[in-house]
Symmetry: C3
Subunit: 160 residues, 3 copies
């Protein structure tokens, strides 16, 4: 017997390509199997949701520096291991293309079409220096209390 | 319907500033919402609980070397990404101060006052070379069986 | 009151020695306490299950390069922090030997004898370029749907 077997949450803390892929493959798999899925993006994970183009925003010098040093969106993520300044990520993306595995951008698109709820953590947006308009459309904004409310109703809760 | 919705556990494996912050923000949020929260510190996560001052203990040469190379307490943690020998952590702490976000030390203090149970994993203390007197007050000591007992009663269990 | 308190799942995404140890210590502890445990190995975690000897397989150039750069089996894993080109892992293994803590190979052996189910993620095997014959015996092969089915029945689900 299982309980609330139709709800899952994933905290996406990491902004690495490999961990982002794992997060969306699990989320999309669960959603395709009829689950209600909430992804809560925090810290480096926010980079996955960044718009690929530059967005002008008011930032302090330190915020601007911090944000500038981080990858702008799902297409520019690195690997958590063996990235070698982007070579590793490029190799993995090349292999994925050869095998017709979905790209990160396609995984996000699928998540959206399957109704996966994507929430950006407002507190880490503040600490990292991100403004709402820098993230892709369809993202909701909330804090840890919202996450905990969702997790209370889920039977699988992961931190990635 | 939810079950045991008032208990959460977090394994704090990482000793990085960003992941330590995430752990305590979730733990404190859950405790503030009336949950019983257990944090189980293991491997690098033990560094978060180290006393900031030097503590004299009997150690083998390898233990002493290992312990000496790790950060002494919550005030000296680095970032998991973009640390640049401490510059990244310093930048993030500066931004946090400007935005009046709680420091790690304040987060630990809050956890204590909210009754969050902090357990140090005795097995990894042994492997890493830590003695009980090197950790801050109020920490309990136990092994994986204790963690599993707590996790069995919780509805959210994270590994960070 | 707890539900399905006798089932646990762990996604082993990391191939670092320290995280691999944590995964198996939790898995073996839970199995020893009478739990049904499923470990789902994906991405770098697949390296933990590699046979230590070279296995001849047909691979594309990129696959061969990728696989060649990764550690061949549980005996060659590095630490997630302070690895220093293998020195850190060597130090930790030396300390573990002095303290008679189980090696990774022994932990895997124990898991097997306790009936822990080890599943290799077929999708990441494909992306990383691994063939079935490169992994140790007793491993099952399945995808994310199998993981989600197991997780639905478990009361503790971790991502490591």
């Amino acid at each position: 017997m299982t309980l609330d077997a139709n709800k899952k949450t994933i905290i996406v803390f990491s902004g690495d390509l490999d961990k982002a892929m794992a997060s969306f493959i699990i989320a999309n798999g669960a959603a395709a199997m009829g689950n209600e899925v909430t992804m809560f993006f925090t810290f480096w994970g926010l980079n996955i949701l960044r718009k690929p183009e530059k967005v002008r925003t008011r930032k302090s010098f330190l915020e601007a520096l911090f944000v500038w040093m981080m990858p702008r969106g799902a297409g520019r993520l690195g690997l958590s291991k063996m990235n070698f300044g982007g070579m590793g990520a490029f190799m993995m993306k090349t292999i994925m293309k050869q095998k017709k595995v979905n790209t990160m951008q396609e995984l996000i698109e699928t998540a959206r079409s399957l109704g996966v709820k994507m929430i950006a953590c407002t507190m880490s947006m503040d600490v990292m220096g991100f403004k709402e308009e820098e993230l892709v459309d369809g993202v909701e904004f909330a804090g840890v209390a919202t996450y905990l409310g969702e997790a209370d109703e889920a039977n699988v809760n992961l931190f990635i």
